[in-house]
């Protein structure tokens, strides 16, 4: 096979190789976690606060859906099929994939100064005002400046940093705090959250925040041109007009 050396390849890619690979592995893991997590919730769609919670106790809130267990009073006569077995297996397998992917991403990210160069808001934009200005620009629907072709704007940077350094660590922490084996070794992680049921409720809300990010992320990508934004995340290069046929 001949090696084609194209001038485009010598350019710095829009997204580094490790960013692309870990991005899509995270997509696979997160979608699996989301589906199986939702499936597990169906077996007990009631949430509590504190250490304990069960159908003999009053819930903090209830999700108005049928349950996959006939012991849960839902108001529906219908009992959903039990899918917890494979859901739990896949949930934890996907969690391992997420943890390994996250570890590779963090190590590579720090080693290449990815976070400092590409994700920490640039000087002069580290203020609430800068975020408001970019929101206003979105609301006015004025097109992004040329600087946004090859770099993230301040809202993207803050959102991505929040997801990477706050939401994912929190969802892993609150998830681990549901493991009776892990809790035996490290009781602090569940106790500081206020107990097992608090950890479960927080796990649900942090997952909800990540789902919200996913939805907004996909909508923004779609609005700004789905393929022009998605292609560089797959092949690395940004689409420029010279490359268009």
């Amino acid at each position: 096979m001949p090696v084609v050396v194209s001038p485009v390849k010598t350019q710095t890619p829009r997204h580094a190789g490790f960013v692309r690979v870990t991005h899509w592995l995270t997509v696979v893991a997160f979608v699996a976690l989301l589906i199986t997590g939702g499936e597990i919730v169906i077996s007990h769609p009631r949430f509590y606060w504190g250490e304990t919670g069960n159908v003999n106790m009053s819930p903090l809130f209830t999700i108005p859906i049928p349950s996959s267990r006939d012991t849960v009073p839902t108001g529906y006569k219908y009992v959903m099929p039990d899918q917890n077995g494979w859901s739990r297996y896949l949930h934890f397998q996907a969690a391992w994939l997420l943890v390994f992917t996250g570890a590779v991403y963090l190590i590579a990210g720090f080693a290449t100064s990815h976070f400092r160069k590409n994700l920490v808001p640039i000087h002069g934009e580290r203020s609430l005002g800068a975020h408001w200005r970019r929101i206003a620009q979105y609301l006015r629907r004025s097109p992004p400046g040329s600087d946004e072709v090859r770099s993230y704007n301040v809202l993207q940077r803050t959102s991505y940093l929040t997801v990477i350094f706050i939401l994912f660590p929190l969802v892993i922490w609150t998830g681990l705090a549901l493991s009776p084996g892990f809790n035996a070794a490290f009781p602090f992680f569940v106790n500081v959250l206020g107990g097992r049921q608090s950890a479960r409720t927080l796990h649900f809300f942090v997952s909800g925040a990540l789902l919200l990010f996913l939805v907004v992320h996909i909508v923004m990508v779609a609005v700004s041109g789905f393929w022009t934004r998605t292609r560089p995340m797959i092949v690395g290069r940004a689409v420029s007009s010279e490359e268009e046929p």
Partner: protein, 253 residues
């Protein structure tokens, strides 16, 4: 990309792959030797299940499940639904469980058949721990029982034994745990709850309590323990009834 760097890349890739495969094979041998591979490690969810079990065994072997103050005992604990008692159980119920027997066999020097009063005459303990169901709910109760290691000591379990298989009087309910859990000080053959007898709904007269794992490992109505060095010959060889029904054998998560 030049030819040189391509050759380097391929060579490097092959070396990495060879080291990786050798490393995985070595890791697998070591993991098997130290009992870090669960019986349900085959199949598409095997890698995740093995990682979870191995990680928890490396970290949690000697840790104790959280215990709670008396004030945190659930006022109204939830007894999960159980099958209707079978005829054999009803006969025991009618005779107040005087003929209930726990058979202990397999890799033991002294196979025994113990009555409830035999078990209760052994040193016993109480613990206030949480029952945690895989569905998401939980409650805290005081559990009074004979630590499983006392019973295993009486039966003189052999050092080759690696698992304890336990059976309910309901034949479809059987489970197994490794020796780390079987000899753990909080693993009880439980016969009392909250200062009284263990009620039927909670597994009375005799329930295995494994507080570092989810509730489905805490099988109710225990009549039979078997010590073994391999789970291959039990059921479908996956370790217990749970994996046969699609649930993980190891339930520490």
């Amino acid at each position: 990309m030049s030819q040189i760097s391509r050759r380097k890349l391929i060579t490097g890739g092959l070396i990495t792959a060879a080291v990786g495969v050798t490393g995985l094979a070595a890791a697998d041998r070591i993991a098997r030797r130290y009992g870090l591979i669960p019986p349900d490690s085959g199949g598409i969810y095997g890698p995740g299940e093995t990682l979870t079990y191995a990680a928890q065994r490396l970290i949690t072997t000697h840790s104790l499940a959280r215990e709670f103050p008396r004030s945190m005992i659930s006022k109204n604990p939830f007894a999960n639904e159980v099958d209707k008692p079978n005829d054999e159980f009803k006969r025991h119920q009618a005779s107040n469980f005087t003929d209930w027997r726990l058979a202990v066999d397999g890799m033991v020097a002294n196979p025994v058949s113990l009555s409830l009063s035999d078990i209760k005459a052994m040193p016993y303990r109480s613990q206030i721990t949480e029952v945690v169901c895989e569905e998401g709910w939980s409650y805290v109760a005081e559990w009074i029982g004979t630590p499983l290691h006392e019973v295993l000591h009486t039966a003189e379990v052999l050092p080759q034994a690696r698992y304890i298989v336990y059976h309910s009087i309901q034949p479809e309910w059987w489970e197994s745990i490794d020796m780390a859990d079987a000899l753990h000080p909080q693993t009880f053959l439980t016969w009392g709850m909250n200062d009284g007898d263990l009620p039927y709904g909670f597994g009375g007269p005799l329930r295995m309590r494994v507080p570092r794992q989810l509730g489905y490992k805490s099988v109710k109505y225990i009549v039979h323990l078997t010590a073994t060095d391999s789970l291959k010959s039990f059921g479908k060889g996956l370790g217990s009834a749970s994996p046969e029904a699609g649930y993980a054998w190891y339930a520490g998560i």
